[in-house]
């Protein structure tokens, strides 16, 4: 028998944004800052777009790690927001786990800074408790490509699936006909090449 395809289901998925804090972002050097900022906002936009329950958490935000990136705070004013008093692995924080379980979802879409700690630790904990874990690799950042590769290896060995924000959006959406304009806007706002295609296309077809 073939291996079961565990695919993202918008009715069964939650998003965990872990430690995207103004100070910690200066540690991220495996992705260019312009691209990384874009990827994180794209993930946030897709969470909103698909109405996925989203949980924000920070580590020591009153210290040098700095506050959560303000755009995220503004986009999810009503989301559970767990400012952890000290736990490095968000899963070691009871409120965080409660918030996750309160969503009632079995699929966790995780991104954060830095990959081998803030992403990998809760991912491994969640897998242990039978969640299906999807890592948004390009909305997660770390010191360099080598530390990223090591982190990926550890997570995939434990059963996590590596995604990108684009793949996540596509797998959740399933069919363009569910909403062409909405998905098109998401892509247009976060993929310059795609925006250009739309620009050329619209110009040629408008008034047709």
């Amino acid at each position: 028998m073939g291996k079961q395809y565990t695919r993202l289901d918008k009715d069964n998925a939650a998003v965990l944004l872990v430690d995207h804090q103004a100070g910690l972002l200066s540690l991220v050097r495996d992705i260019d800052p312009d691209k990384f900022k874009n990827n994180v906002l794209a993930l946030a936009d897709l969470a909103k777009y698909f109405n996925l329950p989203t949980i924000l958490t920070t580590s020591f935000e009153t210290g040098p790690n700095g506050p959560l990136v303000p755009e995220l705070k503004e986009m999810f004013p009503d989301a559970p927001y767990i400012a952890r008093p000290g736990q490095i692995n968000a899963w070691d924080n009871e409120d965080f786990v409660k918030a996750v379980k309160a969503t009632g979802k079995k699929q966790l879409i995780i991104a954060g800074v830095v990959t081998e700690v803030c992403v990998a630790f809760p991912a491994l904990s969640a897998l242990e408790e039978d969640f299906e874990v999807f890592i948004v690799t390009d909305a997660s950042g770390t010191f360099n490509a080598m530390t990223r590769d090591a982190a990926w290896d550890r997570m995939t060995s434990a059963g996590a699936q590596l995604m990108t924000w684009f793949g996540t959006a596509c797998e959740l959406h399933r069919d363009w006909r569910n909403d062409i304009e909405g998905l098109g806007a998401l892509f247009s706002n976060h993929i310059p090449d795609y925006r250009n295609l739309i620009t050329s296309y619209s110009t040629l077809t408008e008034g047709k």
Copy 2:
């Protein structure tokens, strides 16, 4: 007992070319355009050369994604051609799956744009239904090397085998003696270094 070597068999393999569309190709940045164009055409040539049943499919081809690359259309005028009305995963389209199953083949050679969506989704679906899946990595493209690596990880974890067009051709052919000239022409047309070897060789041996 050793692990069984699942190798490509030209009597049991079909080729799926997924979403090689003029617009989508501008998204491909993990492979240089000259090389990528060459790789896609090489895969098409080998599909023809080995008479493999080939299936073409596109996503939203009347919109910004653009039409199928014309060379592919011309090379496979009689191939099943499924212009999907909206399904992102080609395997979610009944006509596509029907066309695949109608070939009666158990081995699927898949390439497409972009790797983590148009290739990975149907690959995972096909594996779930017990097909043997071979990804032609160098005829598949995506946003950057990082998103490619993530896509590869997901597919290999599920049991897909990563190939190149060259490896695919060699595994299908098995023995040069089946047709030296045919395989040589395929290589000469798509591997400049190999063409140079042939040029030098022919010049020196002609008239010998």
Copy 3:
């Protein structure tokens, strides 16, 4: 005697944006699309911020090169806009040169797509007519790093100065005290690392 420092002067500079068209942008592969889009918009923002006369021009915009990027059109609704009927070197178009000369400025800040043609050709022409030419390298794009290097070599040999949008802004502004908030906003909007510094700083100092 030392060599004279030809520095940008906001009262004597004009900006030329050459062929940033939706189609042509798909040719740009020496800079990542997220970063390139940001750089072009940053240059446009600084042109606005410093009230520099700005000239837009396109090549064959009704054909496959595609329309000007809409953001640029919207930001400069009253700027001279020269849709060239065929001249590849914008300087070969009389209207363009007239528009440039009508600004009465001696310093030209040039960016465009692709670097070795749409940027280099008018740059070399302008240098010949004694303009001081400043290339905004990171808001100009081309096929790959090798073609960029060749283009830079040709332009610097002719006397052009290579700038970045950030260096251009700093040289025009001269002194933060001229307007701290304005320049800060420009940087915050286009340099994620700088925005993070501001976020952390503001959080710590607000209410102090």
Copy 4:
């Protein structure tokens, strides 16, 4: 049932530093020397900070391989120090294995030079004897990225977990509240970006 998360436990872990010798370090070319030196010292510092039993070993230190890096010798004056008379795999040396077992720990944190030999061989041996093995990838070095990738593949296939010194410190510490200053100092001394965050933060908050 989910996969068990084997996480580092400071009461059950020992550190093995294998062949960080002055001569052998000239072979390391997959990591820049400034960064590599920093990573090795960071690992040593964390071993000290968490009071982990640490074992030093060298290969042929009186020959061209050269003496152990003096900083390591100084930091662990009382650690077992096994100058192997010839065994390439440290695990083939009885004294070394005895020293490891004498720690009574089940988790081994291993780093060394070069990765595919001095790290991989004892790692594979230890896994065979049911130890839990954690490789500190960025404090281990080898000839180039390709040989590193091959070494990683071999070790992860056998069950080793790939870590970084930063991830190791975080997983051992669990909660900042256990000692904010101590962990902060470790990071400040070995992560320049983090030190900068602390500098800016302290300056703004001192006297507040």
Copy 5:
């Protein structure tokens, strides 16, 4: 006074293709073979398209260097073809210089293999005799990027201008209106991204 812009003039330019031989091409490693082959053929196509006098030359073609790439031979059946008996610098061969001078052109467009020898030597010789020299950098290849950079430095110090085949075509053509279809075909055949733009554009506008 500004610096004079020495621009290519299709009535005053000749093309020199130096040592693009099947054997020597295996030495080229600073450009990927697929791209290099494309660039060389693009340069040949543009030479034909603009009817530029073209001169072919080879070094020791009956030995291991191998024969001229057959495509070039076929494209220029009537071009002067100087199979040099031994001179490494083509300019040291009287027949070659005679052929160059017989064109009556003052602008020499040079490409060849390898850059620091077969291109640089005749380029420096031609500059000494007051020719205007334009190097087609991307149709010239060598051992690696470092040797290329050194060769470029030497040539630009002597006054050569660094071009690409695309820039060369654009500077020669001057105005699209001279022949839209011809130039469009040249680009479509050698720039996959441009071909895609044309494909999408044509599909959308045909029948409009």
Copy 6:
């Protein structure tokens, strides 16, 4: 119970050198030619040094693929040498398999050109027949890093172990005391950094 460490044993290992032919070597572009030549000769030297049964095979050596690299032929004058008449997978050639089995060894050390074909195919076949397979990654070459990564993935999924020539030598030797001079010479001849260590060391200690 821990995972068994399958380690190379000099009494139970044979070396297969597959298709290191003068023509095919021009296809190898994932490793620099100087380094690749060195790695292949290092592997040959170690095969000799450890007296491992070694088998040479070529594909179509009278055609453009060219003859076996002469150094290999000279080093193993008495080794089985199978010039395959057409089989692409060496394992499809009965003589080759017979020669392998005649060695009576269970461990196969394989290297060749190109990795995804000449190495991967016989590796997969051998694994199927319960051989233990060790790939010498750095003495195997292919078109580029991407095709190499795909080939590695396929082989490790099937159970092959990825080695380097240096790791192979170390694992076979076990203990320097078995022969310091011999192993030292092997390293000195093929690792310039190691040779330098020995040079400095010998100079300082001679006459001591």
Copy 7:
């Protein structure tokens, strides 16, 4: 007549450290942080070692740019320290220029963050006033390699000489015999490879 060699003279050189501030350092991405920190401290150490007059300056240090890196402040407690109130080009600040001229030196060794602004602007200004300008490239940082290359081009066109901290130290020292131990310590502290050479050397020769 040959070109005069303008070489650094320890009796005629001053060091300018421009804007090495905790916040601004997070913008530096063309050099790895570990290496960059080391380079800046190496330059500071050499300035101290050669007793060169050193001038510190910062831009807006009470805002998000952050305070001067504390190590620099501590190393030069008595150096002129100009906290510029707003001038972006340090040379636009009278106190800074006065401090420079008060040193009575004609050679200026400049490093700073970011290269195209904080380094390039005062460098160009100083060249205009006939100073000899030496840029310590590896103790200066900026957004990426492309912006660095553009900055270098601008500075060298104006006559600046590009140095590294190591080259600067060597050119100032002239002869090891002036002080072997001092220079050796500088290198040992900032070049790990050199420290290893010394470690091996000392171990072998001590007690000889």
Copy 8:
């Protein structure tokens, strides 16, 4: 009038090999060690082949810098050998300059370790005294590509010409007919791709 082509002349050139010492070579990280070793030996071979007067010099060879690479010593047993007692710039050593001038040559071919010091300093000094200076870039090494680029910039600004060992050999030889076998052997020994061409060629033509 065109710019004079200063080309290497085997009757007027000398080779200076500066500080290729066993210890210092561990500092070279801008070129891979296998390739660098090959390049240095290739340069030495060509010096011998063309009978160019060659001068060897070392810096502090009895200290950690280590002895001259033994191969060089053996190849030039009768060459002037200046073990400098302390001067960093070889040109500051009278014996060295005397040896250079004793050759009576005006063209100096220089290579050494590290580029920005041991090569650049004597190069700049020699240019000042009207020598024609040719840098063999690929037989010179330094810490990384950035420090190399800075060194190149400084030397070319002063009038040095950047060469490679291959370009040097070709420019000295002028015409293959002067000695086909000799030059062919030089290339075959140091360019693996060229050796392969010769192998294939010889095999096909022998007995013809």
